[in-house]
Each structure stands twice: as C-alpha cells, then as structure tokens.
C-alpha cells in the first residue's frame, strides 16, 4: 500500500522540532523499506500544535497528528497502516472516521489555499494545484482592461493595511504612460504579531509570483521586485527557488508562454526598519537609500521606483489574484460584507488556544473568530482585550467583541484592520504597559523626518513610562491626549499618523487602569515591575528550596527547611517563584 506523509516545515514547525520529526520518518521509512512518499510542506496554520504530520492514504482520506515527537513515528506509521489512530495524541482531524477538525471548518481558504498542502519548493506541486492557469488565462483570453475590471468587480482591497481597492490602484498604473513600469510586492511585514505574509511566502511562493505577473501584464510592466524582510530567511530561500523554477519553465522571463509579454522578478532583502513597509520609504530603500517616506502625491502609480510608474501590493493581496481570475470575481465577492469583500487572513497570537493562521470570510464577528475558530482563551484567565492592527491599531475590549471584521467596522472602534495581526490579551496584561510597548516601538522606528512624530512620540513615551513607574499625575492623561492629536495632524506618513492609536484606544476603553497607576500607584495586572514586589510569606514557607532552585537569577536564599528570602535588589520580577511554589508561600503585591 502506498501513502503520503506530509510534514510542515515552515519556521513555526522548525522552531517546534519538525526537522527532527521529518528526519525520524525518513530514517524509519528507508530502514523498513516502506513505500511512502515523504513530503515537505509549509504552515497549515495550526501553529499551536506543531510539529504537524499528515498521513494521506491513496484514496485521499487523511489524518493529521499534532505535537508529534520523533519517538512516536514508528507507532504512528503502524497505526496508520492498520487504520486505528492512537488515542494519546492530539489528533487534529480524522477524515477516515468522518469527523473533521473544527479549526479548519469555519474557514474559507483562498489566499492560504495551498499553504500546508503543497511542497513550496516544487513547481510541479503548484502546477498540479491549478498553478499558473490564471496567468495562462489572462495572456490567452483577456485584455489588460478586462483583467483590471475583473479585479475591480471582485471588490478586493489591499491587505497591507490601508484597504485601498486593488483594481482601482491597478487602473491608475495602467493609465500612467511610460514604457517602463514596475510591480513591487511588499513583503516587509513589519507589524509585530503578524505572520501571514511569512506563511504565504514560505508555503506558496509561486502564488505571489503568479499574482505579480498578472499585475505586470495588466498594467504593462516588465520588471518586479519583492521586498522581503531579512528576518525571514526561509521565505527568501523559497522565493529564490520559485523564481528560478518559474524562469526555467517559462512563466517568467522573455516572451512568457510565447506571448508578447516579458517579466522578470528580483528579490530585495530588507535591512531592518519598520518604516520601510511604507510604500514610498520601501521604494527609497530598494533604490539603496535610507528608507524615509516622502509626501504623496505623486503616488507610486505615476512616479514610483526610479521615478517610473509603479504598482505596489501586499503579499496577501497578491495571493488572492490568481484565485480570483480562475474562479471569477463573483465567486470571490460572494464572501464578505458590502464594502469589504472576500476573506481575510488573521494571525492569532497571545493568550488564545489555537494560535496560528486562519482565513475567514469578512463580516465574521470578532467573538466567533476568537472563540470558535480560535478555540477561546488559552488559560482560565478571562479575556481582556484583543489588539488589532499592531502599532497603528488599538485594543478592542470585551464589550465590543460583536464588532464584525471588515475595514469600516474595525475602524469605528479606534483600532484598524491593519495587516490582520490579532493579539489576544487576558487579565494578566496591563493596558498601560501595552500602550507603552507600542509607543516604544513607533518611537524607535520613527525615521525622524517629521518633528511631531520624532519628538512627540518621545514625550508621550516619557509620560507613559512615568505612569508605569508610579510617578504619573492626573494632568498627564490630558497631555497624552493633546500630544496624540498633534502627532496625528503633524505627521507625513502613516507611521506618525497612527502612532497614538494604541494610547488613544487604551485611554478610551481602559482609562480606569491609567487612573489606578496614577492615583493608587498600583498595576492591577501586576506587570509594571516598579509597582510590584515578590515576597515570601514566612508562615507558609516550609523551606523546600524549590523556588531557590528555579530562580533564574539566584536571588532567593535559604537553607532546607528554613524560611527563604528574596533579595529585592537582584529580583527581576519574572514570577517563576510564584509559579513554582506548591505551598502558596510567595506573594505578589
């Protein structure tokens, strides 16, 4: 009997030990001369239970195991041959028995259609999954205007953050008259907490290349750049291979598919600057300069890379293109709301059970995203907020969880859709600290061009730091709001214009917490280190030494069966002692 074994080898899988699992399978198969195809795939999105191994039988039925350890391999293979899945493993889906895994059930996978299913390093695999059929279709059957019309009708909006209608953007680039035009793919993915672009680049690089080629044809460009952040080495590796394979097979290069259309693609590695995700800064960076945003207009569509008309789209936006062309705009716009069509990929992270990547139709309420698709809270600590849109976004509280995911509804809450990073927070998160965290980020990443963004964020950060240290004053809140307003008004690019959002939303929904820090010098969540203290409760300490052994900085002293003591000067307030103590003898105050 022959069957296929797929192992997810994206960054998330590797970090969880998938390479060792892959090697164990490989060794076992060859040692026992078992005829099975061992296949490398990428991330299917269920990162919370990596490493993932999927067994696919000849008839297509399959079973996926999560959190697989190398030692379990022989047993799993035997069990699969006998078709009786073992119980002590987390089985994510059991198609053989007809019960499907709920995490994938509520999803509609368009941008992620191939991720985790195909081998990203194999062009044949992509072709076997309808790859490059859309490119063939546009080259054979469609005019430039028809392609753009189709994208317009699909209602697709840019997934890089701003949500600008993609078809409209393409039409501007088509209208710009110039012999030389560029297509740029924005793979800078700077929003900390978002990793959907990484997953698509690692898991389905050809879909990006195909999307870019279709765009190039539609606007009349012959050269393209993928600007990928350097923190994604695996994505860059897969992209390089995909470009080479596509060139050899004639999907890129001169006179593609024998038609009068030529297109080549280069990769540019980022050098670590968040602001380079902004389109004008990104293009400056490709040109080899410091990545500083400039005033628009002129927009890239008229004057972009090296002054030539340029169309720039985000990775996820481009990943949708081939699907839309092949299945039709009507099929795509079936999903979603009136103004936000199609699906959106979200990166679920933080205190949520099923952290990973999901793709759901626009219009799903946040509550369903978090509790149904995301599986709810990670621990029994209750939900506090969900952060959307990264450093440009905001924190949405429990009472607004029925907000649906579409661009306009999210914006109404004060957050933004952004790139789709969703970080779930529970009561162990301090909202003032979160605001300080984001401001620290934007402050660091401000390119320094605009005074308000450069200095205003610094002043705000100083105030927030003061508050978290218990030195805040009530007037500080007004100053924060005042500064925020001016930074929004006085900044050139989206970085400054949105930098105050995390502060404004936390002030709006969690003002009490600010006041608690200021008036009572207390951090209710117990996060702000200046305001907390770990102490041994002498009555309860039995001198078991467990905490002293666990303490990473050895700041707990005490002999066996004697009361222990924490050296407050050395304590880093990590809380390990509190978690370790079985006698509730550690107090956090």
């Amino acid at each position: 009997m022959s069957f296929t074994i797929k192992v997810g080898l994206a960054s998330c899988g590797r970090a969880a030990g998938a390479v060792e699992v892959y090697e164990a399978i490989d060794k076992y198969l060859s040692k026992n001369k078992i005829k099975a195809e061992l296949k490398k795939t990428a991330c299917i999105g269920m990162c919370f239970s990596e490493p993932l191994v999927e067994f696919v039988a000849e008839d297509g039925s399959s079973i996926t195991y999560g959190k697989v350890k190398p030692v379990e391999i022989p047993e799993l293979i035997k069990q699969f041959n006998n078709r009786s899945p073992i119980k002590n493993n987390i089985i994510l889906s059991n198609h053989l028995k007809g019960s499907e895994n709920t995490n994938l059930n509520n999803q509609v996978r368009i941008a992620l259609r191939n991720c985790g299913n195909i081998n990203p390093e194999s062009l044949d695999d992509y072709l076997a999954n309808k790859g490059y059929q859309s490119l063939e279709k546009v080259l054979n059957e469609m005019s430039q205007e028809e392609v753009i019309e189709e994208i317009k009708k699909s209602g697709l909006r840019g997934r890089g953050g701003a949500g600008f209608p993609t078809g409209l953007k393409w039409s501007f680039a088509l209208q710009a008259e110039n012999k030389k035009k560029y297509v740029v793919c924005n793979a800078d993915e700077g929003d900390p907490g978002a990793f959907m672009d990484r997953s698509v680049l690692e898991g389905d690089p050809h879909s990006i290349i195909e999307g870019m080629a279709i765009c190039a044809y539609a606007i009349g460009a012959d050269e393209g750049y993928i600007y990928c952040r350097a923190e994604y080495p695996l994505a860059i590796k897969h992209l390089k291979k995909a470009i080479k394979d596509a060139e050899s097979a004639g999907y890129l290069g001169h006179k593609i598919l024998g038609k009068n259309f030529s297109f080549k693609v280069h990769i540019k590695e980022g050098a670590g600057a968040f602001v380079c995700g902004e389109e004008t800064a990104l293009m400056a960076s490709i040109e080899g300069q410091r990545g500083m945003p400039r005033i628009r207009p002129p927009f890239p569509a008229t004057s972009g890379l090296w002054g030539k008309p340029t169309n720039i789209n985000n990775v996820e936006t481009l990943a949708n293109i081939a699907w839309i062309i092949l299945n039709g705009s009507a099929e795509y716009s079936k999903f979603g709301t009136e103004k936000s069509k199609g699906t959106k990929v979200f990166a679920l992270a933080g205190k949520i059970k099923n952290s990973g990547l999901i793709e759901v139709p626009m219009g799903m309420p946040l509550r369903n995203v978090i509790y149904d698709v995301g599986g709810g809270m990670l621990t029994d600590k209750p939900f506090k907020a969900v952060q959307l849109g990264g450093p440009s976004g905001g924190c949405i509280p429990e009472k607004l969880l029925d907000t649906i995911v579409d661009y306009d509804s999210i914006t109404k809450t004060g957050a933004i859709m952004g790139s789709g990073g969703m970080v779930v927070m529970d009561t162990s998160t301090c909202m003032v600290d979160v605001a300080k965290f984001f401001l620290n980020f934007t402050q660091n990443e401000s390119c320094g061009k605009c005074t308000f963004c450069r200095i205003g964020t610094k002043r705000m950060l100083e105030i927030l730091t003061r508050i978290t240290e218990g030195k805040g004053k009530m007037e500080d809140i007004d100053t924060l709001e005042n500064l925020a307003e001016n930074i929004i008004k006085g900044s050139l690019c989206g970085l400054g214009q949105t930098a105050p959002n995390p502060v404004l939303t936390t002030l709006r929904y969690f003002r009490d917490e600010y006041i608690e820090h200021i008036m009572n010098k207390k951090c209710p969540a117990g996060v702000c280190t200046s305001l907390i203290k770990f102490e041994v409760i002498e009555d309860k300490c039995v001198g078991c030494t467990a905490c002293a052994r666990k303490c990473p900085v050895n700041c707990i002293s005490g002999e066996v069966k004697k009361i222990h003591k924490i050296d407050q000067d050395k304590c880093i307030k990590c809380g390990v002692c509190l978690e370790t103590c079985k006698f509730d003898a550690i107090k956090k105050s």
Binding site: A15, E231, A349, G350, C574
Partner: protein
C-alpha cells in the same frame, strides 16, 4: 586595517554600476566582516565613489548594520507584541543576568554572545521566542532560556 580586502574588492566589482545596489553591497560586506568598521566604510566609499556620509547614513538607519564587532553567536530576543504579552521582558532580563550584561551592553566580555532585541520573528504562536544564530526557540520560560544558552559555546 581591513582584513578581507580581496573578498571586499570582489563584492564591490560585482555590484558596481548596478542601480540600487548599496544596501545589498553593504549586507554582503557585513556578512564576511561581521560588522562595518569606519575603515571598511571609508574604503567602500573610495572604491565605489559613493559619499561616506551616504554610506554612514544608510549604515546607521537600518538596524541590521552593525558598527561594532559582534559576538560569535547572535541572540535575537523577540520583543514583538505576542512575545511581549507572554513575558518577553522576563526572558530578556534573565538572559542579561546570565550573560552578565549591564543595561546598555550587548556583547559578552568573552565575545561569545551578542544579544539584540527584534520585533517579531514570525513565530508568534510559540511566544515568547528567541533566535540564536539561525535556530528558533519557542515557548520559553526565564529558566529554560538559561539552559538553551548552555548549548552554545
């Protein structure tokens, strides 16, 4: 003094005249030199004709460029959102204590480790995460991270 002059010359001649090549050029030089010394940048400027101020401007703008010698192992501590809410600060404090690094120091005295903070390594579902050289480690605790360090020397 520049150690790898010959290799640097080769890199420069590979890129010279190509548009938009300054950043990849500097990246490749840094890959062999491990950092960009002022001498190296001056040499690059003389050879390529790009103004030193421009090279220095680019080098200081992007966090990837290092102006000081780096340790043998690079420890990237993720300070992205997901890692932050999952205790990245404790991880960082524990690492610094273990490596005996004061507030503004980033490289150990024996030159074995350089630590740096990065915003998101793209493995948020395994938060908190660090990366040592090319290996990513997830679901860390302040004490497990100390054990991981011991694998490197």
């Amino acid at each position: 003094m520049i150690k790898n002059k010959k290799q640097i010359d080769e890199i420069i001649s590979k890129f010279i005249g190509k548009k938009g090549s300054l950043i990849p050029l500097m990246q490749e030089i840094q890959n062999i030199e491990r950092y960009l010394s002022i001498d190296t940048m001056r040499y690059l400027s003389e050879k390529s004709g790009v103004k030193l101020a421009e090279i220095y401007g680019v080098a200081t703008f992007y966090t990837m460029f290092k102006l000081k010698p780096q340790g043998k192992h690079i420890v990237r501590i993720c300070k992205g959102t997901a890692c932050h809410v999952s205790g990245a600060n404790s991880i960082a404090r524990s690492l610094k204590q273990e490596l005996n690094l004061k507030d503004n120091e980033d490289t150990t005295k024996d030159g074995l480790f350089t630590i740096m903070e990065v915003a998101c390594l793209g493995c948020c579902s395994l938060a908190p995460v660090i990366m040592i050289d090319d290996n990513t480690y997830g679901k860390l605790t302040p004490d497990s991270v100390v054990d991981i360090l011991k694998k490197y020397n």
